[in-house]
Subunit: 442 residues, 2 copies
């Protein structure tokens, strides 16, 4: 267990959680990103946002984010500054095999120890290449050389190992900048190790996931509930395309008490806006819908035009989706709608491809062709081209079909092609959820 007294901590806690926290000392972290590509604006740093959330989940407070370039002096200065401010310094980037990657030599210099081939790391990187049928190059072999004073952190998704340093009660962790490598390392190793090393308060999070209602409408509907939240419970709105997540964060001394209290608050919320709530925690809408289909033992087929494959991608991004998803047709061209799916030429000519009549046929036809319980369909003007005065960019028809009913919805979305594709796909998933026979959550 490390000491971690930071006078700054008390003051900041007071700002955030009120007087309740004067008695506790918060563990402080600084996130340090290394790489010219971020300073030049060639990529957006999404890592540090993800890390902030993860750290907050275990009660560690991020007090600063810093980005410096691939320059030794800048990196060393940033190390020294961060060490003064924070208990934990989490470093990403600059671990690649090429000569512009300076994080490792800088760490060796900062902690005053030499690089040495780490036998276990070498074995791991060798295995990594072998499993992909590729030969280990000398450049990659050198990635297994680590500063002698660090603890190696296994990289299950790539070739650059992470590194863990301890010095004067402070912890430095270096991780790759590749998001999926960093995330796996954080989740499986760093987060558990940090909770063991530091004394953190009990923080309990619960995420409540809604679809089919916008942020401001939701806020209006739950205004009274929100105002009645006790001071040690914080509410955050996390909107994304077609969804709003609500995150309750409570802080205290007993996990059991916090869980009980959050449960009661959630029950009350379900009484107010239960229709919009599709699940809790990490599982996105496509997982919730998949679980409903599995429970009810129903199969699904998709005919998607304007969403161009994205709806099927969401559905099949879920492991095990082959249990309920049989397949799709993407009838992108007009003639494919007729020839491959069987939409009647009269319907297309009279009402157009983007119409209630066409979307109904599409959902019914794909269900019949694939012999599934449920068929869904999309057809619309994703943009930027293809609009008419009656059907502007963002006009999308969606449909759900089972043996009892065919349900259609007209959406008026945005001017942006990708946003339209994603919002329409989410809307179909939500339509499935709400239209399934005897839906327990509705």
């Amino acid at each position: 267990m490390l000491a971690h007294t930071t006078p700054l901590g008390v003051k900041i806690d007071f700002c955030i959680f009120g007087a309740y926290f004067l008695k506790m000392k918060t563990v402080l972290a600084e996130l340090l990103t290394i790489g010219d590509e971020i300073l030049y604006g060639q990529i957006v740093d999404t890592n540090s946002q993800w890390m902030s959330v993860e750290l907050s989940n275990i009660g560690i407070k991020v007090i600063r984010k810093t980005t410096v370039g691939d320059v030794e002096d800048e990196i060393l200065t940033a190390f020294a500054e961060a060490e003064k401010r924070a208990d934990i310094v989490l470093i990403t980037g600059g671990l690649g095999p090429t000569s512009d990657d300076l994080t490792k030599p800088c760490l060796a210099k900062y902690f005053n120890c030499g690089l040495k081939m780490h036998e276990e790391a070498l074995q791991e990187v060798t295995e990594f290449f072998k499993s992909r049928g590729r030969e280990l190059t000398e450049v990659n072999r050198q990635q297994a050389a680590l500063p002698e004073c660090c603890e190696k952190i296994t990289n299950a998704m790539g070739t650059a190992p992470g590194m863990w340093f301890e010095k004067n009660g402070k912890v430095f962790v270096s991780m790759p900048g590749v998001p999926h490598e960093m995330k796996r390392m954080m989740t499986n190793i760093i987060i558990p190790k940090l909770t063991k090393t530091f004394n953190t308060p009990v923080i309990y999070h619960k995420v409540i996931r809604t679809a089919g209602i916008g942020e401001s409408f939701l806020a209006e509907k739950i205004e009274a509930w929100e105002k009645a939240l006790p001071p040690h419970v914080k509410l955050a709105y996390l909107p994304s395309l077609g969804e709003v997540k609500l995150r309750l964060t409570s802080i205290g001394n007993s996990l059991l008490d916090l869980q009980k209290e959050t449960e009661a608050l959630t029950e009350n919320l379900i009484g107010r806006v239960g229709h919009f709530i599709y699940g809790f925690g990490e599982d996105p809408l496509e997982v919730a819908v998949g679980n409903l289909l599995k429970e009810k033992n129903l199969t699904l087929a998709v005919a998607e035009s304007c969403t161009g494959g994205y709806l099927s991608h969401l559905i099949t991004s879920v492991p095990g989706s082959s249990q309920y998803f049989l397949g799709s047709i993407i009838p992108y061209a007009y003639e494919i709608k007729m020839r491959q799916l069987g939409v009647r030429p009269e319907t297309l000519e009279k009402f157009g491809a983007v119409s209630e009549e066409t979307i109904k046929e599409m959902a019914n036809l794909v269900r019949a062709k694939f012999n599934t319980d449920i068929g869904v369909a999309t057809s619309g003007i994703a943009g930027p081209g293809g609009a008419t005065p009656e059907k502007p960019v963002g006009t999308v028809w969606i449909a759900y079909s089972d043996k009892h009913q065919t349900v259609t919805r007209k959406l008026q979305l945005s001017k942006d092609r990708l946003i339209n594709i994603k919002m329409a796909s989410t809307a179909v998933l939500n339509l499935i959820r709400l239209s399934l026979p005897s839906n327990a959550m509705g």
Copy 2:
């Protein structure tokens, strides 16, 4: 014109651009973001990426990005640190009308001058509210009170004015954190004002996009070329799933000279690894492939199994893709491969769904069914389920078919479902590029 001698500047230039730069002084900028919401990970900071690109376009080098919370001490410390390092400090956030917005009082304190109602700013904020049919509240009226020592920067898109400070040859600019307000202010006022105030060098960037080769293999193949780069030209590797981008950044006095020199370096690179280069600049692989299909007037159909819609999504994410993409079948279930696509039961029984024989049939069949020039197909074990000892997770077959040839590839990818889906989709796009008749880029 301000003086802008920063001893650090020379040193940093030397590290980055070599001796060539001892004679020039680069103008250095630091980006400072203020706001708890970024430290907590509630929003991703996309402002600083956009600003980096804009500054780089006028030859100003961003040397650091810093984010601090809504805490007076933290903000004042960050001001002082940034002033030491940079010639220009661009601040976003913390200008809202509520009590947790501290940027303005902190700037007044830092530059040691009082807040005073700015008549022109008051007129602008009054106009802003009037044009939206809303009444000016006292809280919003206070947004027009500015430090006496600053120059007001008009906010054409919102209520909080920007502020421009000069002190000891350094410039501080404070802008709102709302992206569209900040962008309008930067483009119309700050960027022109900075080019007038500072003597900036010319910086030229070129991005070269490759697919089908990993970072370390590419680095080995171009090692000699990289070593021979002149000192004022820098190379960066920017890898993502299935792709590696190379970025050349050169710095000098004449844009024309830099462009010519970069052209020659690029030609030389094409001579070494032209096979892997699919394009330049911003356009991703799906755009490059789309352009090739348009040029050659060819049409495309897709039969994708393990990629589950993601390949079609990449293709249709490109505006105008309906010109060459006719549609897809996603035969996710075994029986759909037979019934909807027409794969022979004997092939599936004898070789399995993940086999060269099946993938060949799939690509040929979808081309025939959709009557297109080209058909492509994917079938594999995306994971985590479905593996056998002979076909572990990550085994993927892909195929390309036109009237002259059918080309197949076996990929051995990762253990991660989403990575496999994305890498396989990229591999198919690259296979199309390389297999098209009389490919000019090959």
